[in-house]
Every structure is written in structure tokens, then in C-alpha cells.
Symmetry: C2
Subunit: 238 residues, 2 copies
DNA sequence: CCGAAATCGAACTGATCGGTTCGATGTTGA
DNA sequence: TCAACATCGAACCGATCAGTTCGATTTCGG
């Protein structure tokens, strides 16, 4: 009768139901992460994951319903890990540019890391066959990270430290500027290794320079030409 | 004795060797294109291509050595098609901004098209397992297209219409600005359809605004602050 | 030390897929 | 009309793989 979900007696604290031990679950996910990263989704075999995780095949299927389910759980776990790092950056002390730089540095370093690149490769590779998987991945990942930057930009505009503009598009532009020359090249394995910190810093500084030239109020107030009115046009797709 | 490769007699003009008929070759590539686009590389079966192309399996293997070979040939054919469209844009009449706009419009429209997106999905999906495939794809595609823009920017700098800068990085930045909010979202199927012409135009105009704010000489000469000296720092990876 | 339960591990199933083979078929040049 | 030849099409091969089954083994609470 003792329901394992409601039983909080001592006897249950070190004993889990079948497929309920979080340590073993993590062990499986760690192995899956290694194998998926090394081989990609289709080429990765459950036998490989079995071997890498040091867990029997039957046990994996006790913890996860299918290969797809296992992969989805893996993505979810990684994502939460990433957000912890990014969310803090915009609360950095310093001026607008400094906080943007901190955000850009962290974002660029994380997105160009082998783990994130491999995850993107897998998602993009199946996005044609399973559009909802890709869309969900973007929604819960990039879109959520973009929302942080978007809120920051809106606050800065209210404070007069950034020119009024289509914040959604400006946020997209800043991110793409940070990733310019790195992310796409990493995805296509044209850059086999993640960029080092110097390259990232140079890229983010260059992005910041361009971004400030367009959206920093001092450049605008100094140069009062009509040519540089910030277009507030239609919202960009986001 | 008559070697089919060197025999130019009339008898050979309407008769091709096995696996040498360019019309049938194209027929196979058309079918392969449809199937690869619909299903992705791994999920696409040779049987599907056989059906779609209306060609027997044996014949396909007379024209192509393997699935990989077939796919490579398909990519090569598509690429040449694209370059014809892009190469012309920078020779458009008009000022610097107009020509950049023409380039950006064409580039964005093509790269966000379903054909190109699907090709990217496949390449990126296997780039982990076969890095040389991905690298070659980037080398012969994006890199070559970037070279056009790069040469253009250098000419404009010499003519004093663009500020001296790291042209390689500036070119990357312009391209990413044009694709901001569109290309990555298309790859991940967050945008199921290609953007329409209005969206593309708005995006390219926004990109152009930002790019000009940073690299147009008039804005710089007017605003002589030290803050806006264009950094000529280390070359960005390209 | 016992007994229950989770896990192991190895064999097995059923299906898919890339690639091959080979006789039948249809087209073409002579 | 005939002979050569590219193509067809359907069966076939060998390998791989996701997922299942089940008895043996380990683990842990009592």
C-alpha cells in the first residue's frame, strides 16, 4: 500500500523506485551527452550510450521511453545549466556598454562551446523532419535568452542611455554581431575548435562598437543630421 | 577501340555512355533534391529517391558512387545556381548604400529560402561526423560569397566612401546584420516559411542603418570624438 | 542473513537501409 | 531487322539499430 510518491519515511530516503534514482538518471544523461556530442543523433546508437554510461540497456529504457525522449531530457538539463550563467551577466556593475559586453562575452563563449554547437547540430539536423522539436528548442533557449537582453534594452531606453528603437530587432542585431564570424563557422565545422577568449573579446568589442554607433544617444545628439534618425519601423519577427 | 571520351563523331552526339547522359543525371539530382529537402540526409532513403526521380536504383548507382557522392553532387549544382544571382548585385548602379542593399536583399532572400535552409540543415547535421564536408561547404559557399563583399568594401575604402577598418570583420557583420532574426530562426524551424519581401527589406534596411552608423565616413567626420575611432584590430577569423 | 527489488547483460526480434545482382525491356544506330 | 547497350525493376544480401525479454546478479532495508 505504501505509495512511493507519498512515502516520506526514512526507509524510502535512500531507496528509489525503478527508474527513479536521480543519480543514475544523471549517469545515463552524462553518457548520452558524450555519445550524442561525438556522433550526432542518428549515428549515435543506444548500444554506444549503454557502453559510455556504464548502464545496461534495459535500465536506460526504464528511465526513458525512447531515444527521442532521452535526447529531449538531455537538452532540457543542459539548457538550465546555461541560463544560470547568462542571466547574471546583465546585472554586472558598470555602465550600459560594460553590461552589454558582459552579456556578449558570456553568450558568445557559451554558444560557441562544443557542447552547445553539437546540440545545435542535432536539433537543426532534425528540424526539417520534426519542426516542433526545433521550434521548441528555439523558444525555450535562444528566445528566452533574448528576452533578458530585450528587457535590459527597454530599461536603458527609459533611462535615456539607449536611443528609442525597435528593441526586439536591436537585441537580435546585437547578438548576431557578437556571433559574427564565429557561430555559423563553428556549426559547419569550419572552425574545429571554440574561439579563445581573445578572439571572443575582440568580436564582442567590435560588435559593441557597431551597436553603440547606431544606438548610443551621445553619437546621435552630437550628430543632429536627419539621416540618422533611428527607424522604429515594424517589429522584426522574433 | 573508339574511346567514348575522345570520340567526337556524329554517332556519339545523341548517344551517351552508361551514366553519362546529363539529362538523366539532372533527373536524378532533381529527385534527390526533393527527397533530401523533405526528409533530411539520414532519413532519406535511396528507395525514396528512386521513386521520386522515376529512375531505377541500379541506374542511380551507375551515375553516382554512393549516397554521399550523390548528395555532394547535388550541393555543387545548387551552389553554382546561387552564385549567379549574388555576384551581380554589387555591380548594381547607385551609391555605396544602394549596392550594399542590393547585395543584402539578394543574400537574405536566398539564404532564407527553403532550398538553402534544408541544405544547411543537412550539412550542419553531419558536420560533427564529417567535418571536412561541412568545412568544404562553407569554403565553397559562404566564404566565396563573402569574398565578393570583402573586395567591394576594400574598393569603397580606397575611394573614401567607407571608413578604413577590418574589412573581413565588417563584411561578416553586415551579413549577420542582414540575417538577424531570420536565418537562425529558419534553420530551427521556428519560422516555418521564408520571410516575405517586406520583412526582408525591413531587415536589410535596419542592417544598413546600423552598418552605416559605424562605417560611413560622414557620420565619423561630423562627430570627431575619440570614442568612435574605428578599431583596426586583429583580423577576425574568416 | 534473508528476501524483495533494481539492475545487469546478453540474446533476440523485427524492421530499415545502402548497395548489388541479374534477367527483362525498350531504345538506338547501323 | 538486328545487335548492342542503357535502363528497368525486383529480388536479394549483409549490416545496423531501436526496443524487448528474461534469467542471473547485485544492492539494500529489515
Amino acid at each position: 500500500m505504501t505509495n512511493p510518491d507519498t512515502d516520506t519515511s526514512l526507509s524510502r530516503l535512500s531507496r528509489f523506485g525503478a527508474g527513479k534514482d536521480p543519480a543514475k538518471r544523471d549517469q545515463i544523461l552524462d553518457g548520452a551527452n558524450t555519445v550524442f556530442s561525438r556522433m550526432g543523433f542518428d549515428a549515435a546508437g543506444m548500444a554506444d550510450i549503454t557502453r559510455e554510461a556504464g548502464v545496461s540497456k534495459g535500465t536506460i529504457y526504464v528511465y526513458f521511453d525512447s531515444k527521442d525522449d532521452l535526447f529531449a531530457a538531455l537538452i532540457d538539463r543542459q539548457r538550465e545549466h546555461l541560463f544560470r550563467d547568462i542571466a547574471a551577466t546583465l546585472d554586472t556593475p558598470g555602465g550600459t556598454a560594460d553590461r552589454l559586453r558582459a552579456y556578449g562575452l558570456t553568450l558568445t563563449r557559451l554558444l560557441c562551446s562544443s557542447q552547445v554547437i553539437e546540440a545545435h547540430r542535432i536539433i537543426i539536423g532534425i528540424a526539417g523532419r520534426k519542426p516542433d522539436v526545433g521550434a521548441t528548442f528555439y523558444e525555450k533557449g535562444a528566445r528566452r535568452g533574448m528576452a533578458l537582453l530585450l528587457a535590459f534594452l527597454q530599461d536603458e531606453i527609459v533611462a535615456g542611455r539607449v536611443l528609442p528603437c525597435d528593441t526586439s530587432r536591436a537585441a537580435q542585431q546585437f547578438v548576431e554581431l557578437c556571433l559574427a564570424g564565429l557561430f555559423r563557422q563553428r556549426l559547419m565545422a569550419y572552425l574545429p575548435q571554440p574561439p579563445d577568449d581573445d578572439q571572443i573579446a575582440a568580436n564582442v568589442d567590435a560588435a559593441l562598437y557597431v551597436f553603440c554607433a547606431a544606438y548610443a544617444p551621445d553619437a546621435q545628439t552630437t550628430h543632429a543630421g536627419v539621416k540618422h534618425t533611428v527607424p522604429e519601423g515594424k517589429h522584426s519577427p522574433d
